[in-house]
Symmetry: C2
């Protein structure tokens, strides 16, 4: 089963799957500033495009990441992503397969 | 707008977007053997997992690709992908943004 997630009225969408390597979402973010909470430890890999990231959301420094780069999100923390041009990303996450992530 | 595509009763799903770099789908394929036709020139990049590919579909040799590798699909040709464990892929394509690819 490939899960489908929608956030911020469809301006962020992701597909959810698991394989031998673990659990993942792969998704697309349109331009905007998007805050996410990570219930479990996860990583955010940039597949296409660039983004600025603030960890934790609203407080930390902004860091710019390029295609192929990634950042880690400890479980139970949040972050804000600032997207200027639509990006694609991959998010491996720990713990059990959630199938369908609800915000 | 992030397009949503579904193929083979949801065993293959993709999200469609464009940015300054061009047009893309990013998607997930579950285990199975899936035949696709490429109306325009495109590339199939493996983001997670491995797959075997036959170009053109039904005739050519099978080639195995690993994560990070890609193959090119000339416009107007077809190919078959054999997936043993669910994969994620990125497909940059040429021509104008289709928004929503119908098989």
């Amino acid at each position: 089963m490939i899960g489908q997630n929608e956030y911020f009225e469809g301006q962020v969408r992701s597909l959810e799957f698991k394989n031998e390597q673990g659990n993942f979402t792969v998704g697309v973010m349109e331009p905007g500033e998007w805050k996410f909470e990570a219930p479990v430890k996860e990583w955010m890999h940039l597949v296409r495009g660039t983004w600025d990231v603030q960890q934790p959301a609203g407080q930390g420094e902004w860091t710019t990441y390029k295609e192929g780069e990634r950042f880690e999100v400890p479980g139970g923390t949040d972050f804000t992503v600032r997207v200027n041009d639509t990006v694609a990303y991959l998010c491996p996450y720990t713990g059990e397969f959630l199938g369908h992530l609800d915000m």
